[in-house]
């Protein structure tokens, strides 16, 4: 019998590797892929069991740097709908979209949705230059840290779902409306939402006049007494100055009246230098700052050093849904963030 040469061996081994694979195709449901677990959670609120939802980045992963692995491209290959932020956060996504070669979800196609339209983007750079660090040219893309932004995100996802699955449009619409109401009630409490509606309260919040308004009396009682939800829970840290590692928390700070006065990073995306850490230590001491928010995917050496030298509380928080096993949806995540900050203040 003739011996096989090396090339015949290569062909044989190639065939063997082809056979030891696996398939992950599932039922014929609409397949939605979101870049982040937060968007997936909102999609589930709107679509329930009508669609199959997957996401690309883990909840404890740095959203800026997700390796564009082929297995992620495979998820996109099967997707009917892709939900991305729409700012330049997911710089890794175009590579995956190219690899997936799925025309349904290409930029501008029916199955492509960006979550950010309608949201007031914060921190739009006045100068687009790398001397400002790893800046985002469209502005701060970490929109998920605001519950009010989830409402806009849900509107955009609703549009996408209605396009790819018009048969279930009425169900999606009803669920999205219920989701928005759920967010408003979680944010402001039932009493105020029943009286004024979530949109009115949101307008007041973003105008910076909500608390002036709540000084008014109604039925012999101050409206402030009717405040509930996360805004009430966050009252202990409203107006406080804090330090953050990165610009993850700008939208959260806007919602709950926190003032971020410094960052552990030298500039966005540039790791802290000893000199900058010293400057932060001095700033914290001068202004008696008590809290530092750090997304859990960042290193802990610099925050620990700063905490040891100043007594500031470094709070490490998962940035997305699923960042801890118990944080199964956006509501639990927001509950967790606020509870952890309050705990740190009480210590």
């Amino acid at each position: 019998m003739k011996r096989m040469n090396v090339f015949q061996w290569l062909i044989l081994i190639s065939c063997v590797t082809l056979l030891i694979g696996r398939s992950s195709y599932s039922a014929d449901k609409i397949k939605v892929v979101t870049t982040f677990s937060d968007f997936a959670s909102i999609t589930k609120e709107i679509a329930g069991d009508l669609v199959e939802v997957e996401y690309l980045s883990y909840g404890d992963q740095d959203p800026h740097f997700v390796p564009p692995k082929p297995s992620l491209a495979l998820k996109l290959k099967k997707a009917d709908l892709l939900v991305a932020t729409g700012c330049d956060l997911e710089m890794w996504l175009p590579t995956l979209m190219d690899k997936a070669r799925n025309p349904k979800i290409m930029d501008g196609a029916v199955g492509f949705v960006t979550a950010s339209p309608g949201i007031e983007i914060l921190e739009k750079p006045e100068t687009i230059s790398r001397s400002e660090g790893d800046i985002h040219v469209i502005g701060n893309p970490h929109i998920q840290t605001s519950a009010m932004n989830w409402k806009k995100v849900s509107e955009n996802i609703l549009i996408g779902l209605k396009k790819v699955d018009p048969q279930n449009a009425t169900i999606y619409e009803a669920n999205q409306k219920a989701f928005v109401d759920k967010v408003d009630r979680a944010m402001f409490g039932d009493a105020l939402v029943d009286l004024f509606g979530g949109d009115q309260l949101e307008s007041l919040l973003y105008a910076g006049t909500l608390f002036d308004f709540l000084e008014n009396e109604y039925q012999g009682e101050k409206l402030l007494n009717k405040l509930g939800g996360w805004v009430k829970k966050a009252l202990p840290f409203r107006g406080k100055e804090i330090i953050a590692y990165h610009k993850n928390w700008s939208y959260f700070a806007k919602d709950f009246g926190l003032k971020i006065v410094g960052f552990i990073e030298v500039k966005p995306g540039i790791p802290p230098t000893p000199k900058h850490v010293e400057e932060m230590i001095q700033l914290i001491k001068d202004r008696n700052i008590k809290i530092m928010l750090v997304a859990s995917y960042f290193e802990r050496r610099a925050p620990t050093t700063v905490a040891q030298k100043t007594g500031i509380k470094a709070i490490y928080l998962p940035i997305s849904v699923g960042g801890l096993p118990e944080l199964a949806d956006n509501f639990k995540l927001m509950d967790y963030w606020i509870a952890r900050i309050n705990e740190a203040l009480e210590e």
Binding site: T17, L18, K69, G269
Partner: protein, 426 residues
């Protein structure tokens, strides 16, 4: 008397009777009146209550209306924020580069000191060593853009001391039938793992010995057409298959002096997600072409590549290990003999923290035109990443040769990039 008595009695009793009757009637009237009055009072009370409720409701509505008006007024009247003293002012006059999308320029400089002066297997225009000077390895100019909704173009031009070279320049047609992407133009072939890497993205300073000896310092590349297929999910977590035809010679393995200079290249990639932190890739490659100017004798180069990467998602910025290994085998027919040669590389790169990476590589390569000649090498390398766009590299390489003097090299490399084309490896 008796009738008169009766008369008087009648006179006396009559008014009493009349009075009693009228008193009874008056009491009944009074009761009736009282009842009516009570009813009227009830009605009035009811009306008063209704009026009170109405007034209360109106007051509530007025209060709510006032509150809503107040809310609308306050919502539209944004609180003025005091200008922060730490605000920076920018004119933006020098920032017009934002108008030039997808244009990149990278610089790659190095200082090298080596014990050997030999550059036996490299062209004069390519990398030479050991002269103890600073060099410009290349300036890479890159243009990338979507051409239309169906295709995109990429061009990379390398400028060095010796001249200008088209590193790659191709159009890529996307999302064709059969889940196929097609590339047309000058490009680096999808052979193994590191062949496609531009120099600035290599895990160590130089291309591994086996790739240099088999394909030269500029990779297996040429002008041609390449089809890349995303295979159905019957294999691994993901599979890709590449089929390419390029024209152009590659030193030592394929001729560039013939009439056609055709090289056929194929690659199968099998990708496996082992867990959330680890993936594994195994690929098989083949390249076939003629090796003499008359295009009579063929060379086949086969290869197998393995990549294992570990990077915990919540610490990927600070921890990670990437191990790559490639085996290459060359079968070269000549007039009087068939030469089989092989070689391998194995490279490990560890991320130590956000800024520092450490890597090492082992090399072995026979020369494809004379398997009796061989090189062995080791390299140890530290990279300091100032940011995503600038890094400095410190490397030591030792090469042992059985046909020339050994070489110890110290290299200090500076690499930078402006624009969107970064040093990304995947």
């Amino acid at each position: 008397m008796r009738p008169l008595y009766r008369y008087y009695m009648m006179i006396f009793l009559m008014p009493c009777l009349v009075l009693g009757q009228s008193q009874q009637m008056a009491t009944e009237d009074f009761r009736q009146l009282l009842k009516e009055q009570n009813l009227r009072v009830d009605e009035l009370e009811k009306i008063i209550q209704e009026l009170k409720a109405k007034i209360e409701k109106t007051e509530k509505e007025d209060a709510m209306r006032k509150l809503l008006e107040e809310a609308q007024r306050l919502a539209s009247q944004k609180k003025e924020e005091k200008a922060a003293m730490d605000r920076k002012f920018h004119s933006g006059l020098r920032q017009q580069s934002a108008l030039n999308p997808n244009i990149s320029l990278g610089g790659d400089y190095y200082f090298a000191y080596g014990t050997s002066k030999s550059d036996y297997n490299r062209l004069p225009s390519e990398v030479s060593w050991g002269t103890g000077r600073m060099f410009l390895r290349e300036m890479e100019f890159g243009l990338q853009s979507a051409l239309d909704p169906f295709s995109r173009g990429k061009v990379f031009i390398s400028f060095s001391r010796e001249g200008v070279m088209l590193e790659e320049g191709y159009i890529e047609l996307l999302n064709l039938p059969l889940k196929m992407n097609v590339k047309l133009g000058e490009y680096k072939a999808q052979f193994g793992n590191l062949n496609r890497y531009h120099d600035h993205a290599l895990p160590q300073f130089e291309r591994p010995l086996v790739l240099t000896n088999f394909f030269g310092t500029t990779s297996l590349k040429g002008f041609g057409i390449a089809a890349n297929f995303l295979l159905p999910s019957i294999t691994a977590s993901e599979n890709e298959f590449d089929l390419e035809v390029i024209t152009g010679g590659v030193r030592h393995s394929f001729t560039d002096q013939g009439k056609h200079n055709l090289i056929f290249v194929t690659h199968l990639k099998n990708y496996y997600d082992l867990n959330r932190s680890t993936y594994f890739e195994i690929g098989f490659s083949g390249a076939m072409g003629k090796n003499d100017p008359t295009e009579t004798y063929r060379t086949i180069v086969g290869g197998a590549d393995l990549t294992l990467k570990w990077a915990p998602p919540d610490r990927a910025k600070y921890r990670g290990i990437e191990w790559r290994t490639e085996f290459l085998y060359s079968n070269r027919k000549q007039q009087d003999q068939t030469i089989s040669a092989w070689g391998f590389l194995s490279s490990v790169q560890c991320r130590l923290n956000a800024r520092w990476l450490m890597s090492g590589r082992m090399d072995y390569s026979q020369l494809p035109w004379d398997k009796g000649l061989e090189e062995k090498g080791v390299a140890l390398c530290f990279d300091y990443w100032q940011s995503e766009f600038v890094f400095f590299r410190f490397q030591y390489t030792y090469i042992n040769r059985n046909f020339d003097e050994n070489d110890s090299r110290f290299i200090f490399q500076t690499n930078w990039a402006m624009g969107p084309h970064k040093h990304e490896a995947y």
